[in-house]
Amino acid sequence: MHAVVQPLLPPASKTSRTSFALSSSPDLFHSTCSSQIASFTSTNLSQPSVLRHPHPLHGDVNSLPPKMQSLAYPQFPSTTVHLALFTHVKNAIQLRSRLVKAAEMPGQEGEVEREAVNFAFVNAGLICSSLHLKTAIHRALAAQAQNTLRTKTVHSEILWILNPTNNISEAIRRYGVSDTTESLFVIRVSGPDLQDPQSKMSQVVDGTLSPLSDLQNITDWASIRKYHKLNDIRIDDLDQEEERQWIVNVVTSTVAAKDII
């Protein structure tokens, strides 16, 4: 029995070292293969794996390192969304000034610099669940597809959608990078053939790439309550977990219904 099962699970069982190497391969990020095994096999055959530096906190070959997520929306065939969470970000101050400078830089140099920082940087403290963030991303993609962007780019649109008011600069101040930001979501909306977005992200952000589940230790519930004006509302008999689920639902719904409020 064991011998039968074993060959079916190459990544998890005996070839974990190989799978670690493969998982760092950029090719996987673009793969939209429905079957993981199939995608592993095809990657294995088509491209020799490139082993990059193991992650400092996740050097153990038995656990896969945290990675950027890539989302291919069937309803938006020409776009792919790359999404990663960075914690312990050390260069928030420099990053913010770099973003401001890049916007004003003239000529060819400016184009290159703007491309280098062409991401949405979202203050992870104000995100209460990945559904919350993905709802905002979806809304922004829809606005882009319909040519109804309210801000200049799809990336700034994500920040604007996250903020419950209509003020763009307030949205960027609250939900973008600030000097004290330590945890950041880095999001890139691109065509399907962007080369190695994860290393492009790592070049810009000096922080630790973390699994999205780390969000639960990052969320700043007090600020979310404040910005969404939920402080005066008292719901009877909810324990803390239920209350947080309620906040997630309210906040996600507010984001989803952004263009009708």
Binding site: K67, L131, A145, V250, T252, S253, I260
Partner: protein
């Protein structure tokens, strides 16, 4: 004709039910990440979403149709949001495309109260946001088992209904179409312990502070009860009891008005 993103989204979804006003689809809003060993334990990508698509009505002038559809989707979303903020148990909003007439809401894993109380399947002519229209050729005798599966007695269901409606009315939202098919019990396994009552279909909801509107809302439910569940009519008293407790001092006025409404019906007198 240009196919837009929302139409593509519906094409990838499954049609569950259709009424005169809208079609109901079950689908996915967010793709699963290409990463299979996703770091998320409760991967929200896997959660289905319900789409309520107010399709184009051929019998209406296109201009009127567009503006009506848009206004109704917006109205429904606003009513849901208002309820949510007040802590009323309603499905959360996941997507709105008002010009296209599509509202994406949280998928509730459960059954309608109508089904659980043995009111049978929903008629074809009515719109419904539940998945029970697909599979319920079951016998009436099995209803008790279903209710037991949800870990509640009919009396407890009545209490949940009354409390939830009172919370909604306290937020000054009037549902406009309270029936047992527009209430769902979320399965205890999905609700985290005990069954949860969720109000659905805010297509006719509006905001009002008037005692009259709230009394009529209750009256509509009372009538719905006596027609869909004739054998369990006495249960409705349980709804009103729970409602009265939750409403507190506001109950007196609504109770008096409800008595008036019972005498005259839900429409006001045409005289005077």
């Amino acid at each position: 004709m240009v196919v837009n993103a929302t139409q593509r989204l519906l094409e990838t979804s499954t049609l569950i039910s259709q009424g005169a006003e809208a079609k109901i689809y079950k689908g996915q809003l967010h793709p699963s990440a290409t990463l299979k060993n996703s770091s998320l334990k409760d991967d929200p990508d896997a959660i289905p979403v319900l789409f309520k698509y107010r399709f184009h009505k051929q019998y209406r002038h296109p201009t009127l149709d567009t503006s009506l559809t848009k206004a109704r989707v917006q109205g429904e979303a606003r009513a849901i949001l208002r309820c949510l903020r007040a802590g009323v148990k309603v499905p959360g909003i996941r997507m709105v495309d008002a010009p296209e007439g599509v509202l994406g809401i949280e998928w509730i894993d459960g059954k309608s109260v109508r089904f659980l109380l043995g009111g049978g399947a929903e008629g074809e002519e009515e719109i419904e946001e539940v998945d029970d229209a697909v599979a319920d050729e079951d016998e009436d005798s099995e209803q008790e088992d279903f209710l037991r599966d949800y870990g509640v007695t009919p009396d407890q269901v009545m209490k949940l209904i009354g409390t939830e409606i009172a919370k909604m009315h306290k937020a000054d939202v009037v549902h406009g179409d309270l029936t047992t098919s527009n209430m769902m019990l979320r399965h205890p396994l999905k609700a985290g312990g005990s069954a949860e009552m969720v109000l659905i279909d805010f297509g006719l909801a509006y905001v009002s502070t008037l005692v009259e509107d709230k009394a009529v809302d209750l009256y509509v439910l009372e009538r719905a009860f006596s027609s869909t569940h004739p054998s369990s009519e006495s249960l409705f008293a349980g709804v009103l009891n729970a409602y009265a407790i939750k409403m507190g001092k506001d109950w007196k006025a609504i109770s008096n008005r409800l008595d008036e409404v019972r005498l005259r019906g839900r429409k006001r007198s045409m005289l005077g």
